[in-house]
Symmetry: C2
């Protein structure tokens, strides 16, 4: 079935490497699933974009007749019936995938808003302990096992690692060696390298094409 | 299979009605699924709590041999194979359930931190437009249909309504009539009323038992 991934036409340097299309590219590489890339304008987000992604964000996919957004839901959908989501561990894998988004990334976003959007160091300092607490709790779990939801790498590890990458970008991973080790294990996979290279090449091509700088 | 829901032994007035065990109670009522309630201390969160819920939060459930946390994952697990999660719409239902958490609740949490935790009106004002934008985008979707992920009420509506209840508590739902209507439709269900009454009775019983005030 033809799979299309939609991301932005261009983004500034700062979010490169963190735009959430990377998660979808990574899953496709893990699954050996070919996909083509389409774009929507970052600067002028129109009605067609909103029809596919009501919050005017990326990524979204078209998989046959199905249009889906939310990176977590896209990953669960693509992983369905594969080794990235073994049926007998579906609840635990779903639990950890949602935990990465909802119990970790939520607090990273609050930190991000204070530190980057507001550029308010005091507010960021107030937000940091919540993130640090969650990372410490995650660290205690990852001290006991290599992968978050069972013996093997699953779609939950993929999501968790991509969330940890944000914490790493903010310099918050330092004291959490087991989280950092999990991230290193996950991103050492060839599928990640291929996805990351393609993700970065997409922005470089946009620069070369003279997209809005 | 025996189902146990764990929530806190007691909480102050403010979060009553919003503690996330309510989502699980509501799903159980929709499904006619009996459950028993156990508690962990709010004030002194121990190792047994952390073993079941690594982030020291509630709710978590025990369903037979399975212990699960994250309200989103618990709802998807309980709904599996039922009318709350029709198999052929699993991707869309999962998409909207995660969207409620990740594209709406995340920004409500950032608002909550500024307004309630920091008690900082200026910071809350900076956070409000992000929440309002997401609610307006949701409003445009709900202008077109009664339920968020298809013709009938699903577990995605349950999650979305419970997230909308937080926005309502903060007085942010006003301009978003279709979101408010969706919330009214969802919470008019008998299953919600039963779950809400049991949720509130739990805190009242804790007060009566002389729990930490």
């Amino acid at each position: 079935m033809t799979l299309t991934l939609t991301t932005y036409d261009w983004v500034p340097q700062m979010p490169r490497g963190l735009v959430r299309d990377l998660r979808v590219r990574w899953a496709c590489e893990e699954l050996g699933r070919p996909y083509s890339v389409e774009t929507v304008p970052l600067r002028d987000r129109g009605a067609a974009h909103q029809a596919a992604q009501p919050f005017h964000q990326v990524p979204f996919i078209r998989d046959g007749d199905r249009v889906l957004f939310e990176s977590g839901a896209i990953l669960l959908h693509l992983a369905e019936g594969t080794h990235l989501l073994p049926e007998d561990r579906r609840p635990e894998i779903t639990q950890w995938l949602i935990a990465a988004l909802n119990s970790v990334e939520t607090w990273l976003m609050a930190y991000f808003l204070a530190r980057v959007v507001d550029d308010d160091d005091q507010a960021a300092e107030r937000r940091a302990p919540l993130v640090t607490q969650r990372l410490a709790q995650l660290d205690a779990v990852l001290a006991q096992r290599d992968w978050i939801a069972g013996p093997d790498f699953t779609v939950a590890d993929l999501m968790l690692a991509d969330v940890s990458r944000q914490a790493q970008r903010f310099g918050l991973l330092g004291p959490h060696a087991h989280v950092a080790d999990h991230l290193a294990r996950a991103t050492a996979r060839r599928a990640f390298a291929r996805a990351f290279d393609d993700h970065m090449a997409h922005w470089a091509a946009a620069d070369a094409a003279g997209s809005p700088a």
